[in-house]
């Protein structure tokens, strides 16, 4: 297996080398052999010693293309397809919407308090499209680009989940 740390040139490669029995293994990371001892394992959690340090890992999400793990409290995501091998940081704040996207999505769960635009309106990037309420706070949802409100997907009073589409802007 091979993957790359995003925004760095560091490449990581690893493989199982052999079993020593008694839940101990030799693995290879970055061409050096390391001792791995599995202490406990359940469907979503593994406790192991890597050389002489204890680690807890939880598998939050696993699919054929990626795996999200929490290692000693630190969350990391690997894309497993070779062409996409990389770690995507949690909380990187880098996945904001771009101009090419049509959908304005809600990044928080909440209730729609007001809708400030109508279908067919022209909006500029940063204009308030609607206002959501969650945890006693009112949060203005702003247009992610200049464009025309093609359609509104929510009504006043409705509840929206995170990533629900609020409006389509072209």
């Amino acid at each position: 297996m091979k993957f790359k740390l995003e925004n760095t040139d560091e490449t990581l490669e690893g493989a199982f080398v052999k079993s020593l029995g008694n839940n101990e293994f030799i693995i290879k990371i970055k061409n050096s052999e390391r001792n791995l001892k599995i202490i406990d394992m359940s469907y979503d959690k593994i406790e192991f010693m890597l050389d002489n340090s204890f680690h807890t890992t939880k598998y939050l999400e696993t699919s054929t293309s990626k795996i999200t793990v929490v290692v000693d409290g630190v969350k990391l995501t690997f894309n497993k397809r070779p062409d996409l091998d990389k770690i995507v940081y949690k909380n990187s704040g880098m996945e904001s919407a771009t101009d090419s996207q049509v959908s304005l999505k809600s990044q928080i769960p909440g209730r729609v308090v007001s809708i400030n635009v109508s279908q067919g309106d022209n909006v500029k990037k940063g204009d308030v499209v609607c206002v959501l309420e969650s945890m006693k706070m009112q949060v203005s949802i702003k247009s992610h680009k200049d464009g025309l409100i093609k359609s509104l997907k929510v009504k006043q009073g409705a509840s929206v989940a995170k990533n629900d589409v609020l409006a389509e802007i072209e």
Binding site: M1, F3, L5, N7, T8, E10, L12, G14, A15, F16, G21, N22, I27, I29, K30, R34, L36, I38, M41, S42, Y43, I46, F48, L50, H55, T57, K58, Y59, L60, T62, I67, V69, V70, V71, G73, V74, L76, F78, I87, Y89, K90, N91, S92, G93, Q107, I108, P109, R111, V113, S114, V128, V131, E133, S134, M135, K136, M137, Q138, V139, S140
Partner: protein
């Protein structure tokens, strides 16, 4: 004497009050909405009563229902916690009318504290210095624009109601002021049924320093030192500490006396807080009295050794304060980090959902007040405070080190939270040197540093993560889906040779 207290609140503060009730042998009564049937305060209280559907207006803000519940279950007192009805003068009056001992100030005093304009006038009379700004309430946006124009942008738009940072908005120009005015009116109307905003000069690089107060029915009044609460986001406190790095005993005595004067000026009763702004030149301005127990009261408990909830109950029972001002000495240093369910990188937007796993730190000088347990839910209906991590040390450095260790041990799976942010802040030389201000996060580009810290941390853990991924592909790959679906915890069959 109080024998049974109904706690008109939920979450960590309800649990906090229950703990003192238990220690004192007082029966505790929890109330809960449909959303909270599984909440920890319900499980811990001696008794628990359902009071309505999830929206606060229909449950935790439903004063008639709460008073009726208290009367029917035989409670003799009500502790309002913070938020919800805690600063609602009508509720305090209603309790008094129904002969329920309201653990807090009188409705009259609360009204005076809550009306920032009347309060300001009382302070000017009592010679307590206040922030220069607009003379009174501003009803129309056009009036606000005029005042802002007069005193110059940026200005702060504030709500007479609210508190805890809510309803405060910084605006830089006319357009922002118009938008903010509309939003603030809306929020205030939704929460309090009416809007009342005012404008104040924006003061740059200020510290938020507040004094804990206590006043008994016999008029004895003390301050229990200051708390520095300058680390904020969107005008809400994130980190608090006592003592403040810029308050020595001389300043403590001086501003503490102003705080005591402020308390007397509004005929306050029970525990409360006088909030001040401190400018870089050392000037203190009174801003308001919070007529309740504060979220950050544990830092004061650590450095004073007092149980403030016990003190509140004693005062409500008519007892005299068991100490004089001169008996109170700051012991060591305490720091609190608020553990909010919010996404640091999404401008601290709320994050809600089920808590799959949680590890709560412990150790010498470590205290955690929280409603979290594995399997509980962080609800979108209520505020984002899941808990508070408080550490004490003989001095600031020891408290800080213990906080760092405890933060690393604090693990919450299910919602975003600011624990990584706090680790970055506590590691910063500016925090260590005490160079604090309410714009700390922006001034030192803390979020950029956090991103770099997270990258570093990810890089440090990448080899371990790789090992874990290897294990997964070797042993678990084909099992996870099916087993997760059935919720089965199984032990793997590794070779046992």
């Amino acid at each position: 004497m109080i024998e049974k207290i109904l706690i008109a609140n939920r979450g960590e503060i309800a649990i906090r009050v229950i703990k003192t009730c238990n220690a004192l042998g007082i029966k505790s009564v929890a109330v809960y909405s449909d959303e909270d049937v599984n909440s920890k305060h319900v499980k811990m209280a001696s008794e628990a009563y359902h009071i309505g559907p999830p929206p606060p207006g229909q449950s935790y803000l439903n004063m008639e229902k709460i008073v009726e519940t208290a009367l029917s279950c035989g409670a003799d007192a009500i502790h309002p916690g913070y938020g919800f009805l805690s600063e609602n003068a009508d509720f305090a009056d209603l309790c008094e009318k129904k002969k329920l001992n309201f653990i807090g100030p009188s409705g009259k005093s609360m009204r005076l504290c809550g009306d920032k304009m009347l309060c300001k006038a009382a302070m000017i009379k009592a010679k307590v210095p206040t922030v220069p700004g607009s003379p009174g309430i501003v009803e129309e946006v056009e009036k606000a624009l005029d005042i802002a124009h007069e005193i110059g942008y940026p200005v702060m738009l504030k709500s007479v109601f609210g508190g805890g940072g809510r309803g405060i908005r910084l605006v830089h120009d006319e357009k922002e002021l118009r938008q903010a005015f509309e939003l603030a009116s809306g929020e205030s109307k939704a929460a309090f049924g009416k809007s009342a905003l005012f404008v104040e000069k924006f003061l740059p690089k200020i510290r938020h320093i507040e004094f804990q107060l206590a006043r008994d029915k016999h008029g004895n009044t003390v301050h229990i030192f200051e708390r520095e609460c300058s680390i904020q986001r969107r005008h809400q406190k994130l980190i608090e500490m006592s003592p403040s790095p810029v308050v020595d005993q001389k300043i403590r005595d001086e501003i503490g006396q102003l705080a005591v004067n402020a308390t007397i000026a509004v005929d306050y009763l029970n525990a409360g807080t006088a909030e001040f702004l401190r400018l870089d030149d050392g000037t203190f301005y009174f801003i308001e009295i919070n007529a309740r127990l504060q979220v950050e009261h544990p830092v004061t408990e650590f450095v004073s050794g007092l149980d403030l909830v016990k003190l509140q109950i004693d005062i409500a029972n008519g007892k005299e304060l068991p100490f004089k001002q001169k008996d109170l000495k700051v012991n060591g240093c305490a720091i609190e980090c608020r553990i909010n369910a919010e996404d640091t990188f999404l401008d601290f937007a709320p994050s809600t959902g089920k808590i799959y796993d949680v590890n709560i730190p412990s150790g010498p000088g470590v205290r955690v007040d929280t409603y979290l347990y594995p399997g509980c839910t962080v609800s979108p209906y209520y505020d984002s405070l899941m808990g508070k991590l408080i550490t004490w040390g003989q001095n600031f450095e020891e408290a800080r080190q213990r906080m760092q260790t405890a933060l690393s041990d604090f693990y919450i799976e299910g919602v975003e939270n600011a624990i990584p942010l706090y680790r970055t802040i506590l590691d910063s030389k500016e925090f260590i040197s005490g160079d604090l201000s309410t714009d700390f996060l922006d001034r030192f580009k803390i979020l950029d540093r956090l991103q770099s810290d997270l990258k570093k941390e990810a890089s440090q853990k990448s080899e371990v993560a790789l090992a874990a991924t290897l294990i997964h592909s070797e042993f678990l790959k084909n099992r996870v889906k099916s087993h997760k679906e059935h919720g089965i915890r199984w032990k793997t069959q590794l070779d046992r040779n």
